[in-house]
Each structure stands twice: as structure tokens, then as C-alpha cells.
Symmetry: C2
Subunit: 418 residues, 2 copies
């Protein structure tokens, strides 16, 4: 069979599984998820052996230490994957719940009922744990999933999915509810992205290049964020201790993730007292700093930030610092250079806190807390399938509910329209 036909076959089977899954009782989905967790643990030797094939290839290709780390499966990572599945099993099932219901003057009872989206395509890079995570979230929300991982993880991904599918078959769920594209040929993705009849949503997870490539080719709606250029604005009235703590956490606790701070905006009236303190602590933590002219007037030995720095997602221990005249200038900076991801204000001023919350258009807007809370688990969604910085369908961290939509249901007793 050609790759083209093979991918179409996978997509058709996914659609037919999705139709069955849409009304699958939560109990059966949860039982499958718990059994998948047990089976992953029991089969960890197999998983580690398959993973070793990927690792051997990766070493041969000379992949970086960091990438090989992300690719590696061992007892701990398999245990974490299984734990993730059990957590998803324990979450409430969004499907079938009525989000609201109201009576019309003519007696019709009108409501909105949550239903799955249908078939979801996930396109991702080297982490094999995404295979289990994404499959679990899609299954729980009643969606069939087509997984297309990186070629460097193909053996690991197929092994994980193989185990998950055996469990599906044994619990009466069509095993085509979870499918991995079995070839590493790039043509498979190209075909997948044209199948709007069978696939309802594409979620790319990975670097900006991967995401742009997917968006440019896809005929199917894509939910994505290109990057996270997150800001903290330290207002004139900020509690300086708090501003230091939050800035350090947002920059250094995990610098390689999308909700880490990339630019620190500081009100001119507090810059003289705040900047020397935060700069000392940041430098002790190994952070390289780039500042605007006003910041460099206060901190002499700091590299100058260029226009390009304000757009930059460093994903590293690097921070751009800008002194602004007031809240208006801070908001204007975020609007111009930001990525609609996450922004935080540190302030003691009530009015400014409200203005920041209302006027900043990013998907997560924070007062007096770290930008690092922009995350499905931390916000209390129970899980995270991705983060959207486009406003259609979902904006910000996406949990199980964002993998559903609502249909209208109407209970009548013979009403006609006149």
C-alpha cells in the first residue's frame, strides 16, 4: 500500500473509532486507562529494549546530550508515564455534561451538551512520553487520536502504542482509537494534514519550526503557540522582595519552557532600588542580562539589548531588561513584542492590577505571581494537552474540556415555529 493510502486508511479507521468512542461510558474508558498504566509497568523491559534501538540510532547520529535525555525511557520515566495515565483516569469525564440549560418562553428546554471533537492528530518531537499522555487525554475526552512522533522515537512510540492498543482491544474499545503513523516518511505528515474529512484538529507540539511547517501545510484547523515571550512588569509600588522572588522563579526555575520570563519590564521609579538587587541575584544564578539604555545607566556592566532581543524567546538563562515610564508603556511593550502567552504584573496598586488584567490581551494574565503558573495542571485543569496562543476555540493552557465542543439539545412537546 502506498503511504498515501496507508494514512487515509488510518484516518478512516480513526473516524469510525471516534463514532464509537463518542458515547463510550466513562467507566470503560477509565478501566482501560488504569489497565494501560499496569501494562506499561509490566512491559517496561520491552519498552526499554525498543527504546534502546532509538537511542543507538540517536547516538550514531550524534544527537545532543539534552535530546538523548528527552528520548530515554527507563524505570523512572515508564513509572511516570503510568502515573500520568492513572491521573487522567481519575479526572472527571467532560463528555455528556450539560454546561447550561434554559427554558424558552414557548416551553422548549434548551441546553448545551459537551461532546468530543472527533479525531485529533498530534504531531510531536522526540519525547516518547507524549505518546501515552496525548493518547490518554484524547481517549478520556472521547476522541480518537492519530500520533505522529519524531523519527528518532519511532520504535519507542510504536511499542508504547502497541501496549495501549492491546488494552483497548481487551476492553471493547476499537483499537483504532489510538494509532501511531508507522512510517517515518515525511510524506505521511503531508497526507495527514490534508484529510479534513477524517481529522478534526491538529495539535503540533515542539519547536517553532515544526509548528510553522504544520500550519503552512494543514487544511485542518491547528491549535498552537509558536513561542512564549513572557513578561513580568515590576510596577512603581511593587513589594521589592516579592518582585525579586517572582522574577527569579519565572526566569530560573526552568528556563527552557514556554512560560519562563524572557523580558523584565521595570517602572522607572523603582528601577534604582530594584535593579541592583535583582541583577545581583540573577547573575549569581548564572543569568546573562541585556538591558535598555536606562537600565544600563543604573547597571553599568550590562550588555545592550537590541530591538531583536525584545522579540526573543531565549529558552535559556538569558534575560532582557527594560525600564519603562509607566503602566501604559509596559502594556504597549507587551502588545508590540509579546506572543499572547503569559504576562505578570507585580504591584501594590489596586487600579493598576485591574488595568493590567483587563487591558493585556495575552492568554494568561497574572497579578503578583510567577508566569510559570500558566500550565494546565497548575491552573487546575487537571491535565494539559497543549497551550494555544490563537483565540479560536481555545486560548491559553488546554485541558480535557478544550478537547470537546458542545451541541445544542432541545426537549420539546410539540412546538412549531410560527
Amino acid at each position: 500500500m502506498s503511504i498515501h493510502d496507508q494514512v487515509i486508511e488510518i484516518a478512516k479507521n480513526a473516524r469510525s473509532a471516534a463514532n464509537r468512542l463518542a458515547t463510550m461510558p466513562s467507566e470503560i474508558k477509565n478501566r482501560a486507562l488504569r489497565e494501560m498504566a499496569d501494562r506499561l509497568i509490566n512491559e517496561k523491559e520491552l519498552l526499554i529494549a525498543e527504546n534502546e534501538k532509538d537511542l543507538a540510532y540517536a547516538r550514531q547520529k550524534g544527537m545532543s546530550r539534552a535530546l538523548i535525555d528527552r528520548l530515554t525511557l527507563n524505570k523512572t520515566t515508564v513509572g511516570a508515564m503510568a502515573g500520568g495515565l492513572r491521573e487522567v483516569a481519575a479526572l472527571p469525564d467532560p463528555v455528556g455534561s450539560i454546561t447550561s440549560m434554559w427554558r424558552r418562553p414557548n416551553g422548549l428546554l434548551v441546553g448545551r451538551m459537551r461532546i468530543p471533537l472527533g479525531v485529533i492528530g498530534i504531531i510531536y518531537e522526540s519525547r516518547p512520553n507524549v505518546t501515552a499522555d496525548a493518547a490518554a487525554l484524547c481517549l478520556k475526552s472521547g476522541n480518537a487520536v492519530i500520533l505522529r512522533g519524531g523519527s528518532e522515537a519511532i520504535h519507542s512510540n510504536l511499542a508504547i502504542a502497541g501496549i495501549l492498543r492491546e488494552v483497548l482491544a481487551s476492553t471493547g474499545i476499537p483499537d483504532t482509537a489510538i494509532q501511531v503513523i508507522p512510517t517515518t516518511d515525511r510524506e505521511a505528515v503531508n497526507v495527514m494534514l490534508t484529510l479534513e474529512e477524517y481529522i478534526d484538529l491538529i495539535i503540533p507540539r515542539g519547536g517553532e519550526d515544526l509548528i510553522r511547517a504544520v500550519v503552512n501545510r494543514s487544511k485542518i484547523p491547528v491549535i498552537k503557540h509558536y513561542k512564549g515571550v513572557c513578561h513580568i512588569f515590576v510596577d512603581a509600588t511593587a513589594d521589592i522582595d516579592m518582585a525579586v522572588t517572582l522574577s527569579m522563579n519565572a526566569k530560573t526555575q526552568r528556563p527552557g519552557v514556554c512560560n519562563a520570563m524572557e523580558t523584565l519590564l521595570v517602572h522607572k521609579d523603582i528601577a534604582g532600588s530594584f535593579l541592583p538587587r535583582i541583577v545581583r541575584e540573577l547573575r549569581e544564578a548564572g543569568v546573562t542580562l541585556k538591558g535598555c539604555e536606562k537600565a544600563r545607566a543604573i547597571i553599568g556592566d550590562m550588555e545592550a539589548a537590541t530591538e531583536a532581543d525584545w522579540y526573543e524567546e531565549y529558552l535559556d538563562l538569558i534575560l532582557a531588561i527594560r525600564v519603562v515610564d509607566d503602566l501604559n508603556e509596559a502594556i504597549a511593550h507587551i502588545e508590540r513584542y509579546g506572543s499572547l502567552h503569559t504576562e505578570s504584573i507585580v504591584t501594590r496598586d489596586y487600579k493598576n492590577s485591574q488595568r493590567f488584567l483587563n487591558e493585556v490581551n495575552s492568554s494568561t494574565v497574572v497579578v503578583n505571581a510567577s508566569t510559570r503558573f500558566s500550565d494546565g495542571f497548575e491552573l487546575g485543569l487537571g491535565a494539559e494537552i497543549g497551550i494555544s496562543t490563537t483565540k479560536l476555540h481555545a486560548f491559553g493552557p488546554m485541558g480535557l474540556e478544550e478537547l470537546t465542543t458542545t451541541k445544542f439539545i432541545i426537549y420539546g412537546d410539540g412546538q412549531i415555529r410560527t
Copy 2:
């Protein structure tokens, strides 16, 4: 300026108006809407004169009587447009409302706040009243709008938008919040559909051909429905009087709209008593019938339905009739031939009513009422900007809320992530 540059300029101006509109108080938006209503009435002579230019061209081109009717502005239609604006002014403003808010274990207060989508492009055919309707709904929901009507209505559309924009300017809202593409050149639409940086959503309103052309070219998300192949299923236990009333209403009350019934499914156990009655009434109302073999065995003189009939959106006094063995066959028929628009069951059986509501995947699913209720006003949304039969972002009739999204807001007191 080239058409390309002209459309980009319009889109950029819309984006900047959208940024201002996002935090515009409801009071100002409502005052503008009420004043627009007054001004349309006061300027009706001008509107009717401009409309006369379009009508002269339409008559010269030999446009059909029905199309010329839709295009015509007179005292009554201008009054209706003004009334529509006042109704939108009276609706609650969705922007800024908090849809839910919860406390996290670490004390963070997390909520979701409704915000506008940004810039919305509406592409539509001959009805000039859409210009005022769509502009009002976008303005109320804090969105800037770019309107591209049919070339046959260009004078009417520019005249209406001109009046609306004068009011914007006088109420402190940027007048680029409402813009009509001033050229009838098709190239303008092609350019518009590529401007994903400035336009957030495209809503095409018109026939299937228009919609397909937009979807095929657009890089911007499109919310649409191609067609409405709506079904009524008359179950074995249906109240026959109710089934007749609902079927007649769904087919004949306004056959040219998307929520009219196109196929009638009848349980075999009730076909013998129900079909002769409904067929008599339908024929009295001038409806042409096409039946499956089983239906024709009961009603001798009925044309045979072909496979193509089950897919057909007649938008006319034509109805396809099929006798089915049971609820399963009815649901399978809808799944195979339906358009995810609106389906209704007529039944006295509790279990079947619940199964139909749960298992039919259309955007509106009805028990014991006419399919004609699938409409934003009738469902109580207060207004309708369109109907979506795709599940991303919105599914079913769309009101003001569907022109918004939510961002996360977080109130903290110094929380960091550990």
C-alpha cells in the same frame, strides 16, 4: 494604491481599532448602536437612493425576482435594520464577564474572562441588511469587522457602512472598527483571506459555492456550514398528530432556509398509518415527494428517491422520505447522509428520546419539536451571526458569546512555582 495595499491598509486599521475596542465600555458601544439605528431611519432617503443604483444594475443584468427582492431597501427594510441594531444594543455585553473562577490549593484565584476575538471578516452575498446586522454584532462583542458584500450591493453596503462609521467617529470609537471593502474586484477577497496576522476569523454567509471558495483559499480560520440536510425521525411510538404538525412546519413554513427538513425518516411500524396522512397534507401544500421502495409500497404514486436524494439540500418544496426498521437505522442514516446541522425525533418513548439526544452528533438535536428552532434567536442566544457545522470554536447557531474567547486571569499574592 494597489488593491493588495488597500486591503492590507484596511486590515491593519481594523487591528488597531480592535485593540481600542477590546476595553470599550458597554455603555459607549450601546449608545453608538442606538444612534446608528436613529441615523439609518433619518437617512433612509439616501439609503434608498443608493440602493436604487444597485437595483438598476441588477435589473439590467437580468437578476431573478427573488434576488432583487433580497437586494431591495425600502422604508420597511430600513426600519427592520434599525430595529435589529436596537435589539443588539439591549443584549448583555459578553466582554469582560468572568465565566468561572476557582481557588487553587496554593491560594491563587484563577478565572476565565471573556474577551473579543479581534478582527472578523464577513463575506456575504446580496442582502444589504447583513452589513448592519453583522457590524452591530461585532461592535457589541468588541470586535472590529471587515465587510465584503456582493458586488451587486456595493452602493447599498457603502451607504449603510458610511452612516454607521459617522456615528462611530462621533462617539469616540475608531471608525475603522467597521469597514466595507470599497472595491468589487475579486482580488480583494483573495488578499483578505491571506491576512492571518490582522484578521482572526472569517465568516462566510451565502450559498455552498461561496463558502467552499472561501474555505479553499483562506489561511484564516473559517466558521461555516456548507448546507443543512435536516431530518425528522418519526419513531414507532410517535403521537401522529404531533408528527404531522412538526413535519409540516419543518418542511413548509420556510422551505428555503438551512434548518428546514429535507428528509423524513419513518419507523416501519408507524409508516402505514402516518405516511398516508402526512403525504396528503404535504401534497396539499405543494410539496413534491421522493420515496424509498418501502415508502412507495405504501404510497403508490410517489417518485423513487435516488441515492443522491439523501444527500440533497433542496431548499424548496421537495421532500425525500425513507422508511427505516428502527432507531438504529435512523441514526445510521443521519450519520451517513446528514450535514451535522439539525435533527429531530418525534417519539413517546423515553429511552429512544435519550438515545437520540446522546447518539446523534449534529449541532442541534431535538426531541418533539420542529427543526426550524435551530436559530440563534429561537434558542435564546439573543442574536445570530451564523451557524457552524464544524466543531472547532463553535458548533450550531452562534450568538455574541461565540464572537468572544476567554483568557485566564490569576490573582496571586506572591506565589512561585516549586
